[in-house]
């Protein structure tokens, strides 16, 4: 069915099981916000809700996981059609303790988002 011309094209992804629509190029953070989602993750120490704060990739409050990957900043990560996005809870648990996996390591070389001072 053809959409009216004023309506921009939509893609969709899943966040914690719910369907979220986004415009092509839109950040995951903006799409979640538009859908009424304010809590993107829960903090490690105090279990507090967190969402967007700075909106420009500085604060790392808006961490989410895309397709079971490592945490990324929702405000600067474009939405991908069909992706499974999860809350960026317990970001520290994502540590690779198994044998060295070159393919995964190389992948994470390009898409991981960790700071240089992260606790293990």
């Amino acid at each position: 069915m053809r959409r009216p011309p004023a309506e921009p094209a939509q893609i969709s992804f899943a966040f914690e099981g719910a369907d979220v629509s986004a415009r092509p190029g839109q950040s995951i953070g903006a799409a979640l916000w538009k859908a009424g989602v304010r809590q993107f993750r829960t903090t490690r120490r105090l279990g507090r809700p967190r969402g967007l704060y700075c909106g420009i990739g500085q604060c790392f409050d808006c961490l989410v996981r895309v397709n079971d990957g490592p945490p990324v900043r929702a405000c600067v990560t474009a939405a991908v059609a069909g992706a499974t996005v999860a809350a960026g809870d317990h970001a520290d648990e994502h540590s690779d303790s198994g044998p060295f996996d070159k393919e995964r390591n190389d992948k994470e070389c390009s898409d991981n988002e960790c700071s240089d001072d992260q606790r293990t």
Partner: protein, 479 residues
């Protein structure tokens, strides 16, 4: 190189930042690579939409730069490491290093596709600024954002921050954000400016000498007045409350020292709150390259010191825009133009850079715009009593969830500097590396220990200017 993903390329000029300053620098006639972390040029001040259907303006200088065949733009790319010599002991030396003493600037750039190393003969740093946050009880509740976040969501993403919001803090940036939110149909419960309104108004009459700024300011104020938004001066948002998102903010009148008064508090029901206290220049790359900095006399940040050619204290490194002092797009454009001309002259002739006669126009414009910027800078100081609105359980460091009480404990135990607090409490040690909590902590430590800001240190030095994985570090090592 065998397994390494890191390639090294030489460049004449690399410009870091594609905002007004970077774009102006890039247009001055040298083969140049412009690096920006965003998916499009424009920076924070000329932010371009990431999605279609968002109304926007593309300023003419940006239009020209994008059409310029000599300018290569690297988007979604971040300089994560800058050094005057090799970036990493294990990195393969570039072909020109034979006979070169390694004095060449190296920039390690991270893109979606991996890492690459650039070895420019000259650099213009136009890294811009981020917003200054001051903590308050409840500022970590979802829905509390910075004014810049609300602006970015609107301009780049076409999403309004809420149905009912409040714009608060201090500084001239609150007005365009408030006006843009109104244009997007958001209800503003109030605009809350910490300075008494007569002082804020005086600053506007001060910029009247600069017609472009004055016209802009008048437009924003007219928009706000037409919408009958209450403008509350001499007050601040001192708390946000809600269960798992912000539902209300508490607004207090400030005493002459900027401490909140208990009487006459008022609550406003909101579904979001945009609170910001001005800007902090992003000096980390300049610091990594060893550029001299100057402390701001009254705000918790430094600026990169430059001469009249926008040259820093380090040869071949120029700086322009917000990192040399917060001044807005007009100052940034003029500084960028001068920096680009001076860098071109440096590349052509070596030695002391001279921007030459073509820089006389921008230099004149710059003097005028800087006067207006200095007026605005002085008109919006941080309220010195701000730490009085903190409670023991207020989050100071959002990443590590350090409470204000933990900070005061170590200060009471005799720690007198920011890095000492960081070491004892982990404040500033998390993902953001002190970007959000650092300047506020510097201010709070100075105020509480009665020392000047320049004596307590800061958290603005970062070996890595952006996230880098352990895997990427090993890529470097295998090179």
């Amino acid at each position: 190189m065998t397994t390494s993903a890191v390639t090294t390329s030489e460049r004449d000029l690399v410009v870091v930042g594609a905002g007004p300053a970077g774009v102006a620098a890039a247009r001055q006639g040298v083969a140049v690579t412009v690096i920006d972390g965003a998916p499009a040029a424009g920076g924070q001040l000329w932010r371009q939409p990431a999605v279609t259907g968002v109304e926007h303006v593309r300023p003419r200088p940006l239009e020209h730069a994008l059409a310029h065949p000599g300018i290569e733009f690297l988007y979604s790319a971040q300089v994560v490491l800058a050094s005057p010599g090799p970036t990493c002991a294990g990195t393969q030396p570039g072909p020109t290093d034979a006979g070169n003493d390694g004095g060449r600037i190296r920039l390690l750039v991270r893109e979606d596709s991996g890492l690459r190393q650039l070895e420019p003969r000259a650099v213009v740093l136009a890294c811009g600024a981020s917003e200054l946050s001051l903590p308050f009880p409840g500022w970590d509740l979802p829905g509390v954002v910075t004014p810049g976040a609300a602006q970015a969501m609107l301009k780049a993403q076409g999403v309004a921050i809420g149905a009912t919001t409040v714009v608060a803090g201090t500084g001239p940036f609150l007005w365009p954000v408030a006006a843009a939110l109104l244009d997007a149909g958001v209800r503003l419960a109030a605009v809350v400016e910490a300075q008494p309104l007569h002082r804020a108004v005086r600053s506007i009459s001060g910029v009247a000498a600069h017609p472009r700024l004055a016209a802009q300011a008048a437009g924003y104020l007219r928009r706000i007045a037409l919408a009958r938004v209450p403008v509350l001066g001499g007050r601040a948002v001192v708390a946000a409350t809600g269960r798992d998102r912000v539902e209300a903010v508490s607004i207090a009148r400030l005493d002459p020292d900027g401490a909140p008064l208990p009487a006459g508090r008022r609550e406003l029901a909101v579904d979001s709150a945009c609170v910001g206290w001005g800007f902090v220049p992003s000096v980390e790359l300049a610091r990594a390259l060893g550029c001299r900095e100057t402390a701001h006399p009254s705000r918790p940040h430094t600026v990169v010191a430059v001469d009249d050619q926008q040259a820093t204290s380090v040869p071949a490194v120029f700086a322009a825009g917000e990192i040399t002092g917060i001044g807005g797009a007009i100052v940034a454009s003029a500084e960028g133009e001068i920096a680009g001309l001076a860098a071109a002259s440096y590349l052509r002739d070596g030695g002391r850079a001279r921007a030459g006669d073509s820089a006389l126009g921008p230099a004149r414009q710059l003097r005028r715009a800087r006067r207006a910027a200095a007026l605005l800078d002085r008109a919006y100081p941080l309220p010195a009593g701000w730490p009085h609105w903190l409670r023991e359980d207020t989050i100071s460091c959002r990443c590590e969830e350090v409470r204000w009480g933990e900070v005061t404990d170590v200060l009471d135990a005799g720690i007198v500097d920011v890095r000492g607090v960081k070491g004892q409490t982990r404040c500033g040690m998390g993902w953001c590396q002190g970007r959000i909590c650092g300047p506020a902590l510097q201010s709070a430590v100075a105020l509480r220990t009665s020392q000047p800001l320049s004596q307590v240190g800061d958290l603005s030095g970062r070996t890595f200017a952006g996230p880098l994985t352990v895997g990427e570090l090993t890529c470097l090592d295998r090179a």
